[in-house]
Amino acid sequence: MMRDILNLKKNEQTPFYLRLIDLLSFIYTKAGVNYSQMRLILDVKMKMDGRKEAGLGGMETGSRSDKEKNQFFSSLWVYSLVSLFLLVIFAYDNWVFQYTVYFSFLFVMTFSTMLANFSGILLDTKDATLIGTKPVDRRTLGAAKATHVGIYLLAFTLAVGAPVMVFTFVRNGLVAGVLVFFLSLLAALWCLGLALLVYATVLKRFSGERLKNIIAYSQISLSIFMIIGYYAVAQIFQVIDPENLLVEMNLTLAHSVLFPMWFVAPFGLLQEGWSLTYAIYTGLLLVGSGLLFVLYNWSTDKIESNLQKMDSSDENISSRSMLERLSGQLVCFDPLERAYYHFGWQLTKTEREFKTRLYPSIASSLVFPLVMTYNNLTAIEPGMDPGPANFLYLPYFTLLLIPVLAVSIQFSKHYKGSWVFELTPEPARAPFLRAVTKAMLIKILLPLYAALALVVLFFTGIGYLVQMLNGLLVFSLILYIETKRSVKSLPFSKKYSASQANLGCMATVIFLIPVFIVSVIMIVSQLFIPYAQWGILLLLTGLNIRWMKKGFSK
């Protein structure tokens, strides 16, 4: 009977991705990977991703009761839906312009997904104990991890790129369609390769507590570079005739560091014929891809051998900071809640996985406002005063961080430790959630918001202080609502798995609409209705006190 089940699995239900990888097995073998072991590890990892982690003390038997479904794949359609807006590019007749927009978007999306959601798999140390002690070499384990992430990234890229790919076939012909398809897949592999190279370098150079910090910093700086690059790419083009949608391109060799442009050059060759710039860029793409592959191949086993450094923990004298103590006194109204507050604060301080998930989002929520400030300052004619409306909306960008933040607090590497909360003599859920939400508000959102608000106040004057304060109160309220909506379990009580990688991202996309509405209402009402800001201040203070005292209780 048992044999039957297993045979069935092997012959008829071989997943699509495994069949695909079987076709590529010769590449793995050539690169010195034990293919059958690699395939086995990959198969088991994907199977585990499809299963939900059993809850606390879950004594449910067997895997038959709940359906095995990989949440990641079944939620991809949202990305296709979102990137439908990219189809606007086909209004322009310039292929280079079309695909510059497309590839810039693709790179930003894929790379930030890679950093935020899949770094955890690449940097996982559990495999070293369970698989590394078996006769599996590092190259094979490394290849399994990279392929595991690669499958997700390729699927993600296909979902994001689907609308543009389909339209390319229809509008720009078969050759362009095939080209955009393969280059999109290549772009996904680039994201994976770049991330792996950065991690390999960092793991090699640093160790101990510093290593963990530097991993987090490298993620932030990579995200920032990506978005600055996105902005720089946009500078290449100028709309010279808005009516005819004519764009002018000033592509020079100085732009050759912007590697997404390398992906665009082949389309230039295709539409406009031979040009030295395009040829050089296409050449760079080929050389770059080759180099990336060689470098990856060379560093892959080094990542595994240096990964153990991540687990070495030295004594880390951690104490409650001034901010933590003061804010705890201020926003928590009873001792139990204060205890949870400090717990949440300290846990998120040391957990690398939490930072890995959140920091890229923090970076992107900061970069957009900064780029726009710069835009504002450069776009304005000399001598003219920039209007306050150009700045007031900037802090609202941080609102986009809230969905990811709210989702993140459910997860922890040490989710099993949550049995402690079953033992507390008082009902734990409401004060716990309140406390952790407050901790996140003060620890993560407040500093970000304060920094942006200061920039805004610097340009608009102190008269807008109340508006900034109101903004913060709106934040706090939205964080509460979003946390209440999305967190169904106790904080830090669930295990984070790859299939849940895009939980917060989906919410972020949907979130754009309410964020936009709220920001507009806030700014417009306060600018044009006299004394509105004071009324809003009163109302929001009331609502905030209410959630801070009674929030989350049923």
Binding site: M2, R3, L6, Q37, L40, I41, V44, K47, M48, R51, K52, E53, A54, G58, M59, E60, T61, G62, S63, K126, A128, T129, L130, I131, G132, T133, K134, P135, V136, D137, R138, S207, G208, E209, S305, Q308, S312, D314, K495, S497
Partner: protein, 262 residues
Amino acid sequence: MEPILEIIDLRKQFDGTPVLKGVSFSVKPGEIVGYIGPNGAGKSTTVKIILGMLSKDAGEVRLFGQPLDQSDVAYKARIGYVPENAELYDTLTAKEYLLFIGELYGLEETVIMSKTEKMMEALGIREAMNRRLASFSKGMRQKVLIISSLLHDPDILFWDEPLSGLDANSVQIIKELLWKLKQDGKTIFYSSHVMDTVEKLSDRILILNDGAVAADGTFEELKQEADGTLEQLFNTLTGFDQHAALAEDFLLAMKGEAPHDA
């Protein structure tokens, strides 16, 4: 007889803190060696280096008569390993997990399944075969780990705390199993905190203290150095003689009173 495992002046530090300060010992084939020492003495670090999970800073490790070479992992097929903190892939069932591990060792599926079933039967967890590991108790997880370390019939076993979490009956089975494995010619290198067991079970005892070998020999030999049980010897060698006073201090702390001066 040539030693199956030889360690010479092994050194390792983490972030500037030395954990192994020149550990040397050798193990002959067919020996049962008990590797004991206080928490943090470096027991697990030694084993992790042998298994290639950590790199050494200095010294030499020779296994099966060869210097350890990380570029060729084939030697790991002759090792059975039970890690200290019963980590498993929790979302898999026991059957799936063991099948996975067995296949990593290159065994045939049919072979693995028939071995697994019989081994689980013998350890009394066969009916849990199709349950997720997440629902397993600590003892059951330990049994799964023990089975997974023996599926491929290895030559040398590294077992970190093999008896932890097991009930009294299971402990007896495992002890008996260790004897039988020894008779079968296996070398067994295990660590434990249960002195009683170590005293009775081991051909040789290695005491590690503060990153160096504090004692090495049969129990009879070690008794020459200090009288009484292994526990007393252990205390002497690790310089620990204050258990009564410390327990007292602990109790006072619980009551919220000031401790006696130390």
